[in-house]
Symmetry: C2
Subunit: 236 residues, 2 copies
């Protein structure tokens, strides 16, 4: 969908805990890179799209109360509140495009699967009610491509940036590389090493653990498509 | 010796094959990064030091004829010729300083050994009489430090730049990681991976293979100390 344009994960939280979440993001920029925020009660995020309305511009939402899904509507006009703050979080689609443009194969895309994602033993830095393990996504590649991928993704700090780990899954608490907690297992060749990036599922998982009395996220797979180009997010 | 200042390997070749060597360097910038050259017959290289005299400014030299060492003098005024071209080749000391400044341990330095260097199955791109395998140096580090090391050394393309390989020695033809062809073996921890950089021994080895009728190199361990700072060589 919309190749070339930045997509983002959505988290909408009441103002009462939005400050803690922003501090969590500041402390954990690799798993939780915020690319846009709204003012409390405001559904606009002009830095991501001039006419963006965060209540209607995502195909489907999930509304949560105390950690339980209570609705999956196609817009959130009815449940919008004056104290809600929207956060849009960068996503690996942006850096994957840059890697593929350089000729590096994304195994999960080639196999038409979802990228494998793993809960790790790396702890995020806590802020208020938000805490928990970092989730990583894994892409197998040759050593030469892994080195190139570090260089390329370093240029994109606002969409997870450089890898957080390389080569030894057991060092970050991963028991079976073919059994990810989210997404699909993908084969790793004898001439390849697994490369791990901090993943946007981390803030989702952390919010679910915090069980806020109210929050809204995007429905899995239907992210926000912004008006910003992936290439704009390269720092050099 | 002279911390903070760029050191370089020396190769002095007759003009007849200097062009081929320059082309070899252009084709293989990672193992053969040239940081200074003289005009034919000229012993000055002002870009590396205003009052530099390449005939006297190295503590000891090696003079070669047809691939054999014929002398190891402390200066080369007597053997200097009007057709000689001097090449100074960047060295890993410069990037090691940047890595250590970032808190990354150099195992061989900690153990007071010479960095382990391996002949690999990676072929250099040939030019004229110059051809042969790439030699790499190896430094063990944790995965997180390996990622950081890719970022840091990418900033120093003129002193070998980013690693050429990471993690799987057998993929580049290395049979026993504890038995390097040059330097000393160093232990690799269970939580570490070997990281390989292109090494300045490559051009030395390639020149020895070409057996030019005449050439001069520095005596091992006595390199040229320049007036340039290591930090000047960072591209960003």
């Amino acid at each position: 969908m919309a190749p070339g344009f930045v997509q983002g994960n959505l988290a909408i939280l009441p103002k009462a805990i939005a400050g803690d979440f922003l501090r969590f993001a500041q402390l954990n920029p690799k798993p939780c890179p915020i690319i846009g925020t709204s003012a409390p009660g405001d559904w606009r995020i002009p830095e991501l799209g001039e006419d963006l309305d965060i209540r209607t511009d995502i195909p489907r939402y999930r509304v949560w109360k105390n950690g339980e899904i209570v609705a999956e509507p196609e817009n959130i006009k009815d449940v919008w509140r004056d104290d809600l703050v929207a956060f849009v979080i960068g996503c690996s689609f942006s850096f994957e495009e840059a890697l593929m443009a350089d000729g590096i194969e994304m195994r999960h895309i080639k196999l038409n699967k979802t990228v494998p994602m793993f809960r790790t033993s790396i702890e995020t830095k806590p802020a208020g009610p938000f805490h928990g393990p970092m989730v990583t996504s894994m892409r197998p590649m040759t050593p030469a491509n892994a080195i190139r991928a570090v260089q390329i993704t370093t240029r994109f700090p606002s969409v997870h940036g450089a890898p957080v780990h390389i080569g030894k899954p057991e060092m970050i608490g991963i028991k079976d590389i073919m059994k990810p907690e989210w997404g699909d297992g993908v084969p790793i060749g004898d001439d390849e090493i697994p490369v791990f990036w901090a993943c946007g599922v981390t803030p989702q998982s952390v919010i679910m653990t915090a069980k806020p009395d109210f929050c809204i996220t995007h429905y899995p797979g239907t992210m926000l498509v912004t008006d910003r180009k992936n290439t704009e997010f390269a720092i050099m």
